[in-house]
Symmetry: C2
Subunit: 360 residues, 2 copies
Amino acid sequence: MKQDMDHISRLKKDYPWIQTPLIVGAPMRLIALADMAVEISKAGGIGFIGAGTDVSDLSTHLEHAQTLLSRTALASSSNTLPIGIGFINWGADLAASIALIAQYRPSAVWFFAPASSASLADWTAQTRRASPHTKIWVQVGCVRDAVDVVREVQPDVLVVQGTDAGGHGLARGASLVSLLPETIDTLAALEKKTEDGSYMPPTILAAGGIAESRGVLAALSLGAAGVVMGTRFLAAPEAQISRGYQAEILRAGDGGQTTVRTKVYDTLRGTTGWAETHNARGVINRGYVDAEAGMAEEEGRRLYALEMQRGDGAWGVDGRMTTYAGSSVGLVREVKGAGEIVREVREGVRAVLDVVSARL
Amino acid sequence: MKQDMDHISRLKKDYPWIQTPLIVGAPMRLIALADMAVEISKAGGIGFIGAGTDVSDLSTHLEHAQTLLSRTALASSSNTLPIGIGFINWGADLAASIALIAQYRPSAVWFFAPASSASLADWTAQTRRASPHTKIWVQVGCVRDAVDVVREVQPDVLVVQGTDAGGHGLARGASLVSLLPETIDTLAALEKKTEDGSYMPPTILAAGGIAESRGVLAALSLGAAGVVMGTRFLAAPEAQISRGYQAEILRAGDGGQTTVRTKVYDTLRGTTGWAETHNARGVINRGYVDAEAGMAEEEGRRLYALEMQRGDGAWGVDGRMTTYAGSSVGLVREVKGAGEIVREVREGVRAVLDVVSARL
């Protein structure tokens, strides 16, 4: 309980502009850029720029974010930029990334899918040297990885991702319902084993399947200090996605049936860097159905390339374009500003709590 | 909100011995029999006998339950037996089942995986005629099935099962995190469309991944009126499972990694009746690993049959015996009486609520 409040206090100290319960915008690659990150932070959340595997345009996005933020009164700590940057570590160039971290000093960096433990340790150490006030966030999808990451790099924040999440994550997994409490219990036991005082337990944030206030209260019940949402923000004007993609997010429902975890979309796009352990959840479309029915990869890739010229019609059940989304896609029903989403979801949590309290 | 309280009042009226939040014991086939069902109901939950696909021994179990219950002061409504019976409808004999329902009048029957919509309607109609006070529960795993079932048979209770659940369920699915709120919203919209007053919305219970109090509060937050637990009760002395199975439940952790949804165990056991749409979650062992590595089905079945003679050593990572369990398996750490589990989990919910409230 005391520990619990410590994590909330720590979040408020490290990111002084936030309001609780904390809503974080997932660093969706190519989709969550400066406009979205800034709007989320302005609304009392923490916005991330999804740099992903390629940091060649990152300075442009950071420059834009800095300009947008200069017009606000957002208070960050120690002159860090009040947004974060998300890296897919196996693909992002370390030296270039560190130079940008040193220059722009984001409040947080979010690491995901490093090539090795040694690589994650390297990214962490170099970030801490380059920008001591930048907090280290690491995303994991199972208990074993949580323990390894905590032992090896002692992150400030551990993002625990359940299998409902859209986009990339562990191919095999559990949802937050069991993953979150088991991870928290296991880390708490670890803590007792390192009583030399050197170990500062990470703050736990939950990702995967959360799109509105009920999901937030569920995640807090399971032990998270705050939540991450991705899919919900796909239906924000600030999302850098085509209208076809966004229309499909609004259309798709019954997410457990209309989305699937698969490597097919990586194959169709020619993305080759992901480890065997990872795949991605997206809306089922013609590209997936054909691949499952045995279409040769080469033919699938040829049709995918052709499809890219079709415009917004290339998304949807008869389309082929990758449409990453989480199983919460059916809870996303209208386009709203990213800031409005943050406020609405956060402010709705108390009403859900009141309903639940009355029931007990 | 009003509707919400109505569901709680309705549960208390229909099952007057219960305490809230309601904890239900899943009708685990061959495992949850009279002893477990009665202990769960005695503790203020609702226990189910898992008749499954074969009702040839069911009268024995019901006779035993009746004897056990005659020694208690459990108040049921309208002289129904204060436990339920779970049927896997595609396999269970309808005529024999209805005769037993008429004779023993369970408080509830739980229907799952009927051969068709028409079959489910038949089971429901015949049950209502045979035992008018027996409540109809139907298990579903996606929004579409929830809508269909509600339209077709108007069940008293809809058990919404997320993909974390152990044993059989939909092969493809979402967890409770997104499935539960989307199902509830969709049914609420349906309700508005049938304002002739004939439609009584079902009470929603949540299943899949819940093994302790945090999961219960999460499910209530997501909109459930109560929860179902299965895996947690595998580690109860009342569970009819071998010591080897139970030991494996206590050992396995990191459930998203050590369990998997697969049809392999059905194949190895020679169970052939499940629809293509369904598979089952179990602990990964040698049988699964060999099948994934390409072992011929015939050889797998031969080794499985041999393994059955090995005793308790036939379970575990080097064993081959089917070890159905949900992704919550890592939260199950000790053997406890089924009644004690019910009380402990239920009574822990308020403490979790207090922690979460303090955080908001």
